[in-house]
Symmetry: C2
Subunit: 114 residues, 2 copies
């Protein structure tokens, strides 16, 4: 899939609601491995244009929807790491870990509660 098509691919939750789309994604300069997908969820959350990075392995591609599905809810997104236009938090060395830690803890809770 071409990188510039990934960038506008729709993102749905498990109930099939469209949450937003992929804004861009973070890729290892040398490894070529995608580490984070950055979601644009502005309209959905009603809090202005915000970008939410998610670890790439949280995304499942659904061929029939032609989009990605993520198992997250609004509450989880409200508290998640996010940034505004013009900010480049990934230039800080620990930002990736911050994102992974947030979603790792949410992932476990969600697995326990159901």
């Amino acid at each position: 899939m071409a990188s510039n098509k990934v960038e506008s691919t729709a993102v749905y939750n498990r109930s099939g609601e469209k949450l937003g789309e992929v804004y861009n994604f973070m890729v290892g300069k040398r490894s070529g491995q995608v580490a984070y997908a950055v979601m644009s969820f502005g309209g959905f959350l009603g809090i202005g244009q915000k970008y939410h990075p998610l670890p790439w392995n949280m995304l499942t591609y659904d061929t029939s929807k032609k989009g990605y599905v993520v198992d997250v809810d609004k509450e989880q997104l409200m508290g998640a790491p996010s940034y505004g236009a013009g900010e480049e938090p990934f230039s800080q060395p620990d930002y990736g870990k911050h994102v992974r830690d947030y979603w790792a803890s949410r992932g476990s809770r969600s697995a326990v509660i159901g």
Copy 2:
């Protein structure tokens, strides 16, 4: 590195000449692994806007140049798989193999001749 920044990153040859830039890149929808970088070399080759896909492992990121370096010459590029604007050859199942085979054979020859 953000995907939309990779997309305009400069590409140099081993002599330090700028060949062009990354137009986009092909990423596995599920794996998140970048398989091909698609180069835009139009001006350099003087043959109009053409896109040349290269296996990702042919690219080396050079921090001082803030760009990628590839060990290819003009003759190799002239004979390489390429396509024009609006074409989507990667939708054909064998196109990736075609690209890999071309560059694998050129890689060996270049290693033997020097």
